[in-house]
Symmetry: D2
Subunit: 140 residues, 4 copies
């Protein structure tokens, strides 16, 4: 499980006084970007070096409690499933101050070429994704 | 089934050359707003007159093909389920020019007070939601 | 002067109950896109055919009155100045229902290559921009 | 002068491969929020305690170089002018890695009541804004 955080911008709120639901997907994005970075892979480098994209194939969001302006949001990201051309990440978002769960959900990502054709996840990516499931020394 | 359309803004694209997945939720919003308006209920009026909000409790998005800048997107909205305090809308988004399905998904909306307490869907809303399922003259 | 309109999305509002100031730049974008389209040039085609971009070099926004959720906003766009590698558009945004001026401002656009080098505005673009200032039959 | 930073989200880029110009206003927002926080005033608290809003009356942005995905952007914020009901902040945004200036501009903020009437900047805000101009020990 990887954790990072983000502070709610005024721009992210709506007239109901809470964060607009569509903006949570930007926080999911931050979650997976920082998970990959923590494992040694900057996604910006991935696109440049491999000439491939990770595209969102599916997103599920369940909203439990509202996020408010200036809250610090803890973004937990967990690799839930790895398949040949796609993988699924699960997210739990909490308000740092109270620990309340605000939003849970998942993102299914597929690896594609610039013209949109699915391709197997490259080895360098797989290695980083699988790290968690086979931590060093696990079987020692 | 209700249909409306929206033209893709440059602002809605990302560096992969396609629409950012988070922006589709704004199009789902347009779909439900225009469905309600076509049934005689402006959501802006709903908030003012009833002092209630419809909050997104769950969102599911499946991305089939990318949407491109300046595409006209057809937004189909269908009322899928009505319960006491919530209802579910299903969406199909297509590229107008080709008819291709770009995105499908659903939104679960709950009726809440300004302080976030769930309340039964008010009669005026229910009447509009149920219209489709019991069209006038259906059983005549 | 060209006019188009846009309806305010819930997503565009913020917790102050009005449209977030940053979102007006998307409406300026709609204004210039529709001005060009009305003169026979889809900006999407421009990028594809010429391999060039129009990049925003400067933006000025003056906010006079707030825009509210579900308002229809009239976007007036006027070509204010044309130079060798850039041109300036002026905008006036009004609330359709009341006619009130909500926002005025300008955008300076520069023509650049994909690697960011400024280039003279191509003839096909110039012809469309100059139309207004030299309407057919003006000197007749 | 106050400095904070933000990392560019994928969501903030557009199909030209650079950050969409409208998103810079969210970074200006971060700049002023963090400037106020560093002087002991959380803007979220300001709205709650005083029942007032700081609304953007004018924004000017000059774009010098593009910001790219995953760049760390340094946001410099300087209080440029303080008047009775409004004040002006100046911003310089740089790419951390290279030091290049990407964007400069200013924001004029006015203090208003919830119904939009301008009011003098409250004392608690003024005290924080004026700090910089009269640093402790300046006349020592």
């Amino acid at each position: 499980m990887h954790e990072t955080s983000v502070r709610v911008r005024y721009a992210e709120t709506d007239k109901a006084g809470v964060v607009y639901h569509g903006r949570y997907l930007e926080w999911f994005e931050i979650g997976r970007t920082e998970l990959l970075r923590s494992r040694g892979l900057a996604y910006s480098t991935f696109e440049k070096e491999y000439g491939l994209f990770l595209t969102v194939a599916e997103a599920l969001l369940k909203f439990h409690k509202p996020a408010y302006y200036d809250d610090v949001i803890l973004i937990e990201t967990r690799i839930a499933e790895i398949r040949r051309v796609r993988f699924r990440l699960e997210h739990v978002l909490r308000r740092r101050e109270t620990g309340e769960t605000l939003c849970t959900g998942h993102i299914q990502l597929a690896c594609i070429t610039p013209d949109g054709r699915p391709v197997p996840l490259p080895e360098a990516l797989l290695r980083r994704l699988e790290k968690e499931e086979h931590p060093e020394g696990k079987n020692a």
